[in-house]
Structure formats: structure tokens, C-alpha cells
Symmetry: C2
Subunit: 176 residues, 2 copies
DNA sequence: TTTACTGCAAATAATTTGCAGCTTA
DNA sequence: TAAGCTGCAAATTATTTGCAGTAAA
């Protein structure tokens, strides 16, 4: 897996997450710390399984990973990413270069995930708020396509992520 | 549930779906016809359960609903919609006024789903293709907010859809 | 010490699949 | 007829939960 600056850059842990956690009555435990570190190291939207597995030896229970993620998601430390392949992924959410709001470009063949920045939808959100009276509007936007490598191989390339757990191609195709 | 032109408009069945199905070696069966009719009548992204239940008496097996949906999705007759609440929904995909490409505005409290049109991302897609060499680029975009009714009730309003199966508010919050 | 957190196993829930019988072409 | 469907029940898979023991604060 060659390095891809836009794909596999280790993320940064949201600063002050410990304080944030404590301020909400939570405890800073080794498990939670490890889950966050694993997510940061993975540097891309990852499933609970991937996160648990990446912890390897010092693994913490899958149930704990789920519980930690749920907690972090409610704290706004983690955001969920759904790419229509039936798997729910999570990534760190923050406001620095690596964790701030962004989107993804997902290869429909191999599952490669590219980070996409610079989408400007705030004006559109404003018009939605005005036209329909909604508040607190936010959005999720994902792109799908065929990556360069897959174009040349013609066949479904080797999945970049979680080798061995390739999702069925059929479900990967977003009904556009 | 008052009528909402943008939410609950019965959709139209994709024309020629029978021919399309047959041309791919599939058979036009009563079950498949009913599943499509149910989706058209529901007129909004619906889960397999909702589709099966809406068929009421003349119900067809849940497994069959899943199989039909999968088939239709691969044919491009149905597209999947994920709103981050852990449920996978499906809606008719076509090119007429009701089924063409569009997005949704999902109320984070009651789950009301509003259809959103007029998003212009093709230029952005083109730049993605140019910059990263991807082809066949498409996208999925969903908006989340608090609908007017929920703003006034302060509490989680009655869910517009599938009463009784309200998802946990915690999971409804998209990690922005 | 107190009470939240964790591991483990059992429980749920959403999908999928095997198979034998039923239908469409 | 023949192959593709369908219902039903069992099997999977992802995720959640109960509980008793462990560890933050």
C-alpha cells in the first residue's frame, strides 16, 4: 500500500478531548485513548471492526469499541461516514487540517477512499433554511467513481483497505 | 400526517421497467411489481420493512423484498439512501420529475424527509475527475436539520414516518 | 471508596441464504 | 417444460445489552 497523502495521512487527535470527556462526566480510560489513537493512525473512515483489529495485541473488546465510538460521536469527537456499501465507518471530527469538515471520493471498485476538500455548500444550506424554515442545517456529501488504478486493471483491483473483507461489488454501486 | 407536496408525493414507476427487467433475463413477477408499486406509493426513501409492511394483506415475504430491491438497485431502477440513523432506505430512481437525481433534507428530531432539488455539483465532479483521474463520478448528498414543527415543540416531535420505530435520537445526529 | 467502564457472553436486528415447491416465459 | 422466483426457516453479520469484575477519580 503506497503512501497517498490524501488518503492515508495519520490524523491528529482532537486536542483537549480528555478535558471535553471529563467535563461531561466521563472518564479518560486506556481503552478510549486507544480507540482514538487507532482512529488517528488509520487516518481514514474505518469500521468498528477495523479499529478493533488495528489495536492488535493490546486489543480492546469490540463491544467497548462500539461503546467508545458512540460516546465520541455524541460528543462530536467522531463523525460517521456511510458509503453505501453496507458498512458504517467512523473518522475523527475536529477543526484542524486533518479532521475538519470534508467529503470523500470512494472508488466503486477497490474501495479506495480519497479525502475531498473545498466543497462550498453553505450558501445552499442557507437557502434551504430560508425556504423551508429548517435550522441547524448540516450535510453529508460523498462522491463515487473509478480510481485510476482500477481503470487500468479493468477487473476489481485489490482493495486498498481491509484486505480480505471486500464488499460485494453489487452493493458498492451507488444508485445514482 | 398532513399532506406535504415535497415529501409525500406518490412517485411514478420507471417506464419500461418490465422490458428492462426482461432484457436482462429477469422475469416480471407479481412480487416485483408489488414492491415497485409500494415504493411508488410510499413516495419517499423507505426501508425494506416499510415496503413489506405497506403491502399489507397481499404482503410478499421480507426476503423477497430484499431480493427484489437488490435486483432493482443493480438495474438502476432503485437507489439507496442512507441518512445516518442506521437504517438503509430505498427509493425509485428514474429520470422523470419524481425519480430523477435529487437530495434530501432530514429532520434530526422527527425524521421527516424533504426532497431537495437543484443542487449543482457537476462542475465539482468534473474538477475531481480532472484532478484525481477518477471516472464515472457521481455523488450522494444529504442535508440534516431541525424542521419547523420540531423547533416549536422543543421535544422530539412525533416521527412522520414509521411511527413506533423512531430511531434513537443519539444516532440521528450526523457528526458534522 | 464510589461509580463508571470493561470484557464476555447472550440478545437483537437487519440481511442473506438453502431448499423445496410454484410461476413465468 | 425449464429456469427463474418465492416463501420459510435457518444462518450470518453488525451492533447492543446484562452482569459481574476492574479501574479511574
Amino acid at each position: 500500500m503506497e503512501p497517498d497523502p490524501q488518503t492515508c495521512c495519520a490524523q491528529t487527535l482532537p486536542a483537549h478531548w480528555m478535558d471535553l470527556l471529563r467535563s461531561q462526566g466521563g472518564r479518560v480510560t486506556r481503552s478510549r485513548q486507544r480507540v482514538l489513537e487507532a482512529m488517528a493512525q488509520l487516518g481514514r473512515p474505518s469500521t468498528a471492526q477495523e479499529i478493533a483489529r488495528s489495536l492488535g495485541r493490546r486489543a480492546c473488546n469490540l463491544a467497548t469499541v462500539y461503546r467508545s465510538i458512540a460516546l465520541f460521536e455524541n460528543m462530536g469527537l467522531v463523525r460517521r461516514v456511510e458509503l453505501g456499501d453496507g458498512q458504517t465507518r467512523f473518522e475523527l471530527a475536529g477543526d484542524d487540517q486533518h479532521t475538519h469538515h470534508h467529503h470523500h471520493l470512494f472508488c466503486k471498485r477497490c474501495g479506495r477512499i480519497l479525502k475531498v476538500e473545498g466543497c462550498e455548500l453553505s450558501r445552499f444550506e442557507a437557502s434551504l433554511a430560508r425556504d423551508h424554515g429548517y435550522t441547524e442545517i448540516e450535510h453529508r456529501l460523498e462522491f463515487f467513481g473509478i480510481c485510476p488504478r482500477c481503470q487500468s486493471t479493468r477487473t476489481a483491483g485489490s482493495p486498498q483497505h481491509s484486505p480480505g473483507t471486500m464488499v460485494r461489488p453489487d452493493r458498492r454501486r451507488p444508485a445514482q
